[in-house]
């Protein structure tokens, strides 16, 4: 007996009416911004070999992926992100292309979240990749486009946060740590788990690098944080700090000064993924970042093209939800006109529909057999004008 014929799998959903309109409107905004800056769209396969997502710079754990096998029994996954497929593309079909390459994408991605976590397993993600180019200019461009994206959401409150993965990488390399301990320390940084971090670092006594890592986790906030960092962080990471300060000042000068904060403790989940400036965007009312990105100079090398790159991705469903909450609905206005015909004038009515559409109206044809039903439909859908096509010609009614 069928058991699941009336359900969708956990973490997936049907989007209808305003839900759908909100998602598309976010997608359209992003597409508009990206194309206006000269990015070209790529569509990569929804199915990829598992190996694409299992390499040195970024390794997805088996639990995070939706997996299946192809006709030859090879392990295939539902695309969990778009950056690695684009890196694969650059390393293969596009190898030898003139740089920089600038791409954007707007497609679904799939993540197997823990059961009943309330998160989407399937969602639309849109973003850009700048492959090649001079580091500071490319970083600044990515940040500037990201800031434009954040502004376009017209959220009540939003923040843009920047950091640099170099702080943690360089400081933790100064401590005698096994790979396992590195991962442990990274996890505490990622979770701002102060008690665990402090007790982990305590074993190094007054080692200044250990002390600096402890401070790093707490160094987030406005401009004052950067000044504080200049005083408390060791010389080895001062160049990274100088770079971050420069980027901070540059991005603030783009007119979003009050919205920019810094978090020096930002680290990537995967040890070798981010290699420089990293950033995130938050909107009030959504408990996770809606935008995240950064520099990933080692990823392309895993696909045979040793090219530096940067980029970011936006969770469109998250932004659409925030948009819906704020607008309170009515993102899809009803058609301007409903056209009804009796049995003998169906083709005339359909022709009238097309003519009215050419005149600039949105028009719905009433697939109904009586005028009363058509009228009831217009009332229900909020359509204000009805044209009735009969032997008497076209009768116009305003509701």
């Amino acid at each position: 007996m069928k058991k699941y014929d009336l359900l969708t799998p956990e973490g997936t959903r049907d989007l209808i009416y305003d839900e759908c309109a909100a998602l598309r409107s976010v997608g359209d905004r992003l597409r508009g911004i990206f194309t206006s800056h000269g990015y070209t769209e790529v569509i990569t396969p929804g199915l990829e070999f598992f190996d694409v997502f299992s390499n040195r710079s970024r390794h997805y754990s088996q639990e995070e992926l939706y997996k299946l096998t192809d006709g030859k029994g090879r392990l295939v996954v539902m695309r969990p992100d778009s950056t690695l497929p684009i890196a694969r593309l650059v390393g293969t079909r596009l190898s030898g292309s003139a740089l920089p390459l600038k791409f954007f994408y707007n497609q679904t991605i799939y993540r197997a979240n823990p059961k009943e976590s309330g998160r989407d397993d399937e969602f639309y993600q849109s973003g850009i990749e700048i492959i090649g180019g001079e580091t500071m200019r490319a970083d600044m461009e990515a940040l500037s486009v990201a800031a434009e994206v954040m502004e376009s959401f017209e959220a009540d409150d939003w923040r843009f946060e920047i950091g640099d993965s170099g702080f943690f990488t360089e400081l933790s390399a100064k401590l005698p740590l096994s790979e396992k301990e590195q991962d442990e320390l990274r996890e505490y940084m990622l979770g701002k788990n102060y008690p665990a971090l402090d007790s982990f670092l305590a074993r190094f006594g007054s080692n200044r690098y250990a002390e600096a890592i402890g401070k790093l986790a707490r160094l987030f906030g406005g401009k004052e944080v950067l000044a504080e960092a200049a005083e408390v962080l060791p010389d080895e990471v001062q160049p990274a700090l100088a770079r971050l300060v420069k980027v901070y000042n540059n991005i603030s000068a783009l007119g979003i000064g009050g919205r920019v904060t810094a978090d020096l403790g930002m680290v990537s989940k995967s040890q070798d993924y981010y290699t420089g400036i990293v950033f995130r965007g938050y909107v009030s009312g959504y408990g996770m970042p809606v935008l995240s990105g950064g520099r990933y100079d080692k990823v392309l090398a895993d696909f045979g093209a040793d090219i530096p790159a940067t980029g970011f991705a936006v969770n469109e469903n998250a932004v659409a939800n925030a948009l819906l909450k704020r607008s309170g609905g009515m993102l899809t206005p009803p058609p301007a006109l409903l056209v009804y015909s009796d049995d003998e004038h169906i083709t005339e009515a359909l022709r009238h529909c097309r003519k009215s559409i050419e005149a600039g109206l949105t028009v719905e044809y009433a697939d109904l057999s009586t005028e009363e039903e058509a009228r009831a439909l217009a009332v229900k859908r909020g359509i204000k004008h009805i044209d009735t096509v009969t032997a008497d010609g076209i009768k116009h009614t305003v509701l």
């Binding site: 309330g118 979770g191 102060y194 987030f220 938050y282």
Partner: protein, 219 residues
């Protein structure tokens, strides 16, 4: 980031709730509503712009992770079992106990080569513990009194929360190894931490300093 931002904090119903409300009292907060709550689940601390939500332990994590609550007080046991993405910014020190492996008194859990069966309410914690020992075990999830499982001979041992060990002793069981210590933690939603930094750091610092004073007072 204005000073009048409301902070919503989820407390784990029961003992951790009581301890946290006591702590709020020490901090000079008006906890009348929290003490005389009746059956209400969302309560206010007057004059502090703090809203308190009472929830089951695992739900505290869900609410904080999804951003429905800015902060939460929850046991390390629940954190270890449920995981998730949030900041764990402070160890509040109360609600102290531990996860431990216990067997029937006198039995040799690690002896022999057979695969052992372990009963627990916390399969993730148990799996992680034995994985770190590179040991294959069968895990049986039990909802009620885990102590029964070895007595009814469906498990060789149990992994459970142990406070005083009285229940174990009365049922002829004994701790053979500590797994991990547990106490109440202060967790924060990752976005709230950034959008409401000042208020969250203030509240967390105030809680920790009240705890410290309490400790000094009791010595």
């Amino acid at each position: 980031m204005s000073e009048n931002t409301t902070i919503r904090i989820a407390l784990t119903k029961g003992r951790l709730e009581k301890d946290t409300v006591g702590l709020f009292g020490k901090m000079g907060f008006d906890t009348t509503e929290l003490v005389e709550k009746g059956r209400r689940l969302i309560l206010n601390i007057p004059g502090q712009n703090i809203q308190v939500v009472l929830a089951k332990a695992a739900d505290v994590i869900t609410y904080v992770e999804l951003g429905a609550c800015d902060m939460g007080v929850v046991g390390k046991d629940t954190i270890l079992e449920h995981g998730g993405q949030y900041y764990e910014i402070a160890d509040l020190g109360f609600g102290r106990c531990r996860f431990a492996l216990a067997t029937k008194e006198g039995s040799d859990f690690y002896g022999g080569v057979g695969v052992k069966t372990v009963a627990t309410k916390y399969p993730a914690v148990t799996r992680h513990f034995f994985e770190s020992k590179r040991m294959d075990v069968d895990i049986v999830k039990i909802e009620g009194s885990v102590e029964l499982a070895p007595l009814l001979k469906i498990a060789d041992g149990i992994v459970d929360i142990v406070e005083t060990g009285t229940t174990l002793r009365e049922n002829g069981l004994a701790v053979i190894e500590d797994v991990v210590p547990i106490s109440a933690r202060l967790i924060v939603n990752t976005v709230s931490m950034k959008l409401k930094k000042e208020r969250i750091e203030e509240l967390s610092a105030a809680m920790l300093s009240a705890l410290e004073q309490g400790e000094r007072g009791s010595v």
